[in-house]
């Protein structure tokens, strides 16, 4: 029986007085491969930010359950488009940022941090591009570098925001297979937000569906991808 990594109790999420998601009661299990789906603007990224601890709940509590008295570490993979390509950084320099949380304040990354980052690039099949400028890489390659960056922090869970956005079908499949391998190898917990039914259908083990009225349905894939559940989430079209 897998233990929980995170539990949300009666959570409401939003910005200021604007409520985006409400009545959230759910758990993320260790070793889970959870796909989060929902209509555009339904609050998928908001949910991810709350799980990461970047957004405090308006009401309720989110409990992060670590091991040995330490809170769990989350490796965050943001939407690729959020990152500014004006920064002249190599793939390795981007990947090593994943180590920054493990270094103390005012400590610069050491050789071993670069070695770990390089090993993570290798795991993401990007080691031969480690010296290449990140901005010159293709979308799929950039996504792999960002996954390597998240892995470099040696996280308990990977949280990915639209990891296949803007990728062709082949790159999309390759990224999802990489995540699947990571999950199988070390039972890394993976939570990914997507608007693509195909990614969830083929790769996720459990599914969280955000409905149009801002609530969350969460469960096993067959149940969540049933016409009834999908109809509840996408009630007014826009699937």
């Amino acid at each position: 029986m897998p233990s929980d990594l995170l539990r949300a109790h009666g959570v409401t999420l939003g910005y200021g007085t604007r409520v985006v998601l409400q009545h959230l009661d759910f758990a993320i299990e260790r070793g889970d491969f959870l796909g989060v789906m929902g209509p555009n603007g339904s609050g998928k990224s908001t949910l991810l930010k709350a799980v990461l601890g970047l957004l405090k709940p308006l009401t309720g509590t989110i409990e992060r359950i670590g091991t040995n008295g330490k809170p769990p570490r989350f490796g965050y993979v943001p939407q690729r488009e959020q990152l500014d390509t004006h920064f002249p950084l190599s793939a390795l320099e981007v990947a090593v940022m994943g180590r920054f949380g493990r270094l103390g304040a005012l400590r610069r990354p050491r050789r071993e941090d670069f070695e770990i980052a390089h090993a993570c690039l290798q795991r993401a099949q990007m080691d031969r591009f480690s010296a290449r400028p990140y901005r010159e890489l293709s979308g799929g390659q950039q996504q792999r570098v960002l996954i390597a960056r998240a892995l470099a922090g040696e996280p308990d869970a990977l949280l990915l925001d639209e990891p296949t956005n803007g990728l062709d079908i082949e790159s999309e499949r390759a990224i999802m297979e990489l995540l699947l391998d990571l999950q199988r190898e070390k039972a890394t917990t993976i939570v990914f937000v997507t608007h693509l039914l195909s990614a969830v259908e083929h790769f996720a083990r459990r599914v969280a569906l955000i409905t149009r009225n801002g609530t969350l349905l969460i469960g096993e894939k067959p149940e969540m991808l049933s016409p009834q559940s999908l109809a509840r989430a996408y009630a007014e079209g826009d699937a």
Partner: protein, 269 residues
């Protein structure tokens, strides 16, 4: 090299190099963080602070420093509102600061030339105490830039990732803006608003046109900033030109060449 035998020119050279060295690494972040015009607006606010201090016979540098740092801190918390882009606020601060400086100075009990020097700084008239102040301030700025490299990089590049890693983004943003505020305030006092603004933008902009690595960009910005400043001082001396605008002109040429080179390289690749 007879220029080096003139005592006040030695001050000019030292002041120029100090300001160029101190602002060069900041210029990379100022450009990357898209706060170029915050620098211009803050320069005007700083001038208004000096004018206010002169009017009420307060220490000009202290008042300018406080106003500059407070304004930068305000920007560190500011964001686009649903009704108004941040750019409009920067524009209004620039206009308001300029107007306040002029209006306050009209009533100030000092001679016009003296006021202009205090208000806008003049690289030719940097006094020894200010020179020592620059040594201390810019040494601190450079030390903080070096030590907090990873914090300043990640809060600029990916603040959400930084928060997820447990890095205190608000704290490091505050430290960054205070650093820039102190550097800008002392630079304006020493070499004037126009040269300060240019040194806060041009070396970083030129370096980012040329560099593929951040470390290289910092190196190019530093070398080009110092070289253009020294070049401008020598050229202005030999051709009897005003020093500040000559340095600004050289930095503008440097940027134009870098920009053109980057455009040509992009087209040929």
């Amino acid at each position: 090299m007879d220029l080096l035998t003139i005592p006040f020119m030695r001050h000019v050279l030292i002041a120029g190099v100090l300001v160029a060295l101190g602002l060069a690494p900041l210029s990379i972040y100022v450009v990357l963080r898209r706060i170029v015009f915050v620098g211009a607006a803050v320069a005007e606010i700083s001038s208004a602070g000096v004018a206010l201090a002169i009017l009420f016979q307060l220490p000009p540098f202290s008042v300018a420093l406080v106003l500059t740092v407070v304004t930068f801190l305000g920007f560190s918390r500011a964001a686009d509102s649903p009704r108004l882009p941040l750019e409009a606020l920067i524009g209004m601060l620039y206009a308001g600061g300029s107007a306040a400086a002029v209006l306050l100075i009209v009533k100030a009990p000092r001679g016009e030339g003296d006021i202009l020097n205090v208000l806008f700084g003049n690289i030719l008239t940097v006094p020894l105490p200010l020179l020592w102040g620059m040594v201390v301030a810019f040494s601190l700025v450079l030390a903080i830039q070096y030590l907090a490299y990873k914090e300043f990089l990640i809060i600029a590049y990916d603040p959400d990732m930084a928060r997820a890693l447990g890095i205190r983004v608000a704290l490091w943003n505050t430290i960054f803006y205070v650093t820039v505020g102190v550097a800008v305030a002392i630079a304006i006092r020493g070499v004037g608003a126009l040269l300060t603004f240019t040194l806060l933008v041009a070396p970083g902009a030129a370096a980012l046109c040329l560099a593929e690595r951040l470390a290289v960009a910092f190196a190019i910005a530093t070398v080009s900033s110092v070289a253009a400043t020294l070049g401008g001082i020598f050229v202005s001396y030999w051709f009897d030109l005003p020093t500040g605008p000559t340095i600004v002109a050289l930095l503008s040429v440097l940027f134009a060449v870098s920009y053109a080179y980057a455009a040509l390289r992009r087209r040929s690749s």
